[in-house]
Amino acid sequence: MVVLSVFCLFPVYWMVVTSFRPANAIFETSLWPTAASLDNYVYALNAIPIGRMLVNTLLVSAMVTVAQLLTGLLAAYAFARWRFPFDKIVYTLIALTWLVPFQVVMIPNYLLVANLGLLDSLAALILPHFAGALAVLLLAQAMRSFPTEVIEAARMDGARSWRILWEVLTPNLRGTIASLAILIFISTWNEYFWPLLLSRTPENSVIQIGIQMFMTSEGTAWGPLMAAATLASLPILAIYVLLQQQVIQSFTKSGIR
C-alpha cells in the first residue's frame, strides 16, 4: 500500500517541486528545490490569463456536473421505476454510448455547435456533456437497489413520482451522487481535445488549454507549465477533500469502483 501510494504520488510531488525551481535549475534532480522561487508562477500568471481560465474551467466543470446529475437522475428514475415501450433497448443504447470514445463524435458535435453559432463560447463546452451514460447507469443501478417497500410507503403517503424522486430517492443516494459528481467534475476539468477544437481566444479557454500554451514549437517552458499545472490541480484537490468522506463511504458501501 505504502509503496503504491509513493509510486502514485511521486509525479505530483515532482510537479510541485519543479514549479518552484528557478529557470536555470529546472532539470535538477534533487528531491528538494535547492533555491525555491515563485518566478515560474509570476511568469505563468503574466503569460496567460490563468485566473480567467480557472474560473472558466470551474464554471464549465460545475455546470456539466450539475447538468449530468440532473439529467442522470431523471433518466435513471424512468429506467428504474417505469416500464415503457423499448425501455430495455433504450437503456442498452445509452450504455453503448459510454463505450464510444468522445473523439468519434467530436466532429459531428463540432459541426452542430458551429451551426448554432456557439464556437469559442463556454456554452459550447458544456452542451455535449449535458447528459452522460455513466451518470444514468450508475444512478439507475443505485435506484434499483433502493428498497421498493420504502417507495411504496411513499406512494401510500401520497407522494407521486416527482416527490419520490426528489424527496425520497435522491437524499438517500448521496454517496453515489457525490462520487459521480467527483468523477464528472474531474473528467470535465481535465478535458482537453474538445476545448482545443473550440476555443479561439484565451479568455474563452479552459485551464488545460492554458497549460498547453507553454508547450510551443520553440520548446517547452517547463517551469511555468508546472506552475500552471499545480494551480490547475488545486481546485480538484479541494473538491476531493471536501467530498472525500462521502465518496469513501459510498465506495465501500456500493462496491462500485
Binding site: 417497500e149 420504502v150 411504496e152 410507503a153 411513499a154 406512494r155 407522494a159 425520497v168 438517500n172
Partner: protein
C-alpha cells in the same frame, strides 16, 4: 350497517399466472380482520391490491360505497404498515410521521399536534429526533404505525408487521396493536401466517389457501368448526388429527387401523369415504385397555405447560395432549377414546365439512363459546 370495505369476485393474474381466483370479502366498520394462510397463497397480493399498489385483473373493490379500484393509493384512504417497516432512512422519526401530512399540505401546527399525539400513544416521544437507523426493530415498527395513524385513514392495512421481531417483542407488539384497536376502533386488515397472531387479534378471521378463501368467521368458530380439511389442519397447534375413514350408518371405521369403529352419527346417504378429524386436546387418554383404541407412544414433546404424545396405531399416526395427572413415558401403551361431539367429519373428495354431526357438537361447544 353498510359494510365499509367490499371486495367482489377479485381476480389477479401475473403474466398468465393466476394468483387470486375470485375473492369476496365484506368488512364492517371498526372490525379487525386477520387474513391468514400458508406462504404464497396470495395474502400480500390481496392486501396490496386493496392498497392500490397492484392493479386488479378482474372484480371490484369499494370503500364506503365508492369504487376505488382505479384510484391512486393515496386517494383510497388506506394506510399501510409494511413487514420491513419501510421508513424513510434520511428523515427523523418526527419527519417520517409528518411526511404524509406534509404532502397533504396540512398546516404545520396541526401536523405537529397529530405527530405529538401519535408519538405519545406509541411511546415514541423520546425518539422523535432520531433517525430510523438509531432505533430498535420494535421502535421502528411503532414509527411505521405512527405514520399510518396520523393520517387517520379509513382502513389500516398490515402486511406481517411483526414477523421481523423476536418472539417476545412480537407478543408485546401484538398486545399493543390490540389495545390500539380497542381505543381507535379503526377498520383494520392484518395479514399474517402466524396462527396465534391470527387467533388473538381477529374479530373476524379469513383463512386463505391457493388464491381462494377457505373460510371466514370468528376465530372461535373457525377453530371449532373448520369448514374444510385444509382449515382443520392449518389452524391449531398441534394440528388436528385427520384420519381417513369409511362411514357406514352412524359408525366410521378408521382405514389405517384394522377393525376399529368410532360412533359418529349420521350424515345422510352416499357419503362413505370421509376424513375424520379430532383435535389432540379432545382425545380422552387413559391406561384402561378396555375403552378406546390401544396405541403406543412413539415420541413425547415437552412444552412446559403441556405434553404432546405422538402415537401410532397400525398405519395411523395420532397426536394427543397428555393429561397432567398421569405420567406417561415414550414407549408406553395407552388407550385413546374419541368422544363423538368432538369429532369432525369431512368429505374426502371435496375436503368440505359434513354438517350433520355439527348439531351434536354444537350442543357441547356453545356453552363454552358464550362462557
Amino acid at each position: 350497517m353498510m359494510s365499509q370495505l367490499s371486495i367482489r369476485q377479485l381476480k389477479k393474474r401475473y403474466e398468465g399466472k393466476q394468483v387470486l381466483h375470485g375473492v369476496d370479502i365484506e368488512i364492517e366498520h371498526g372490525q379487525f380482520v386477520v387474513i391468514v394462510g400458508p406462504s404464497g397463497c396470495g395474502k400480500s397480493t390481496l392486501l396490496r391490491i386493496i392498497a392500490g399498489l397492484e392493479d386488479v385483473t378482474e372484480g371490484e373493490i369499494s370503500i364506503d360505497g365508492e369504487r376505488v379500484d382505479d384510484l391512486d393509493p393515496a386517494d383510497r384512504g388506506c394506510a399501510m404498515v409494511f413487514q420491513n417497516y419501510a421508513l424513510y432512512p434520511h428523515m427523523t422519526v418526527r419527519e417520517n410521521m409528518a411526511y404524509p401530512l406534509k404532502i397533504a399540505r396540512m398546516a404545520k401546527a396541526e401536523r405537529e399536534k397529530r405527530v405529538g399525539e401519535a408519538a405519545d400513544m406509541l411511546d415514541l416521544t423520546a425518539y422523535l429526533d432520531r433517525r430510523p437507523a438509531q432505533l430498535s426493530g420494535g421502535q421502528r415498527q411503532r414509527v411505521a404505525m405512527g405514520r399510518a395513524l396520523v393520517r387517520e385513514p379509513r382502513v389500516f392495512l398490515f402486511d406481517e408487521p411483526l414477523s421481523n421481531l423476536d418472539a417476545k417483542l412480537r407478543v408485546t407488539m401484538r398486545i399493543e396493536i390490540k389495545r390500539l384497536h380497542r381505543r381507535l376502533k379503526a377498520t383494520s386488515i392484518f395479514v399474517t401466517h402466524d396462527q396465534i397472531e391470527a387467533m388473538t387479534l381477529a374479530d373476524r378471521l379469513i383463512v386463505m389457501n391457493a388464491g381462494l378463501i377457505e373460510q371466514i368467521g370468528s376465530p372461535v368458530d373457525i377453530y371449532r368448526q373448520p369448514a374444510s380439511t385444509f382449515v382443520a389442519g392449518f389452524m391449531g397447534a398441534p394440528a388436528m388429527n385427520l384420519m381417513p375413514a369409511r362411514l357406514a350408518g352412524t359408525r366410521a371405521t378408521l382405514e389405517r387401523v384394522s377393525d376399529y369403529a368410532v360412533e359418529t352419527g349420521s350424515f345422510g346417504p352416499g357419503r362413505d369415504a370421509i376424513t375424520l378429524g379430532i383435535r389432540p386436546e379432545d382425545i380422552v387418554v387413559s391406561r384402561d385397555a378396555r375403552v378406546g383404541l390401544l396405541a403406543r407412544i412413539d415420541l413425547i414433546e415437552e412444552l412446559g405447560g403441556s405434553r404432546i404424545a405422538y402415537c401410532s396405531v397400525g398405519e395411523q399416526e395420532i397426536a394427543v395432549v397428555l393429561p397432567k395427572a398421569v405420567s406417561f413415558r415414550e414407549g408406553d401403551r395407552l388407550s385413546l377414546d374419541f368422544p363423538a361431539p368432538a369429532l369432525h367429519a369431512f368429505d374426502r373428495e371435496t375436503g368440505l365439512r359434513l354438517t350433520a354431526m355439527n348439531a351434536a357438537r354444537q350442543e357441547v361447544a356453545n356453552p363454552l363459546v358464550t362462557a
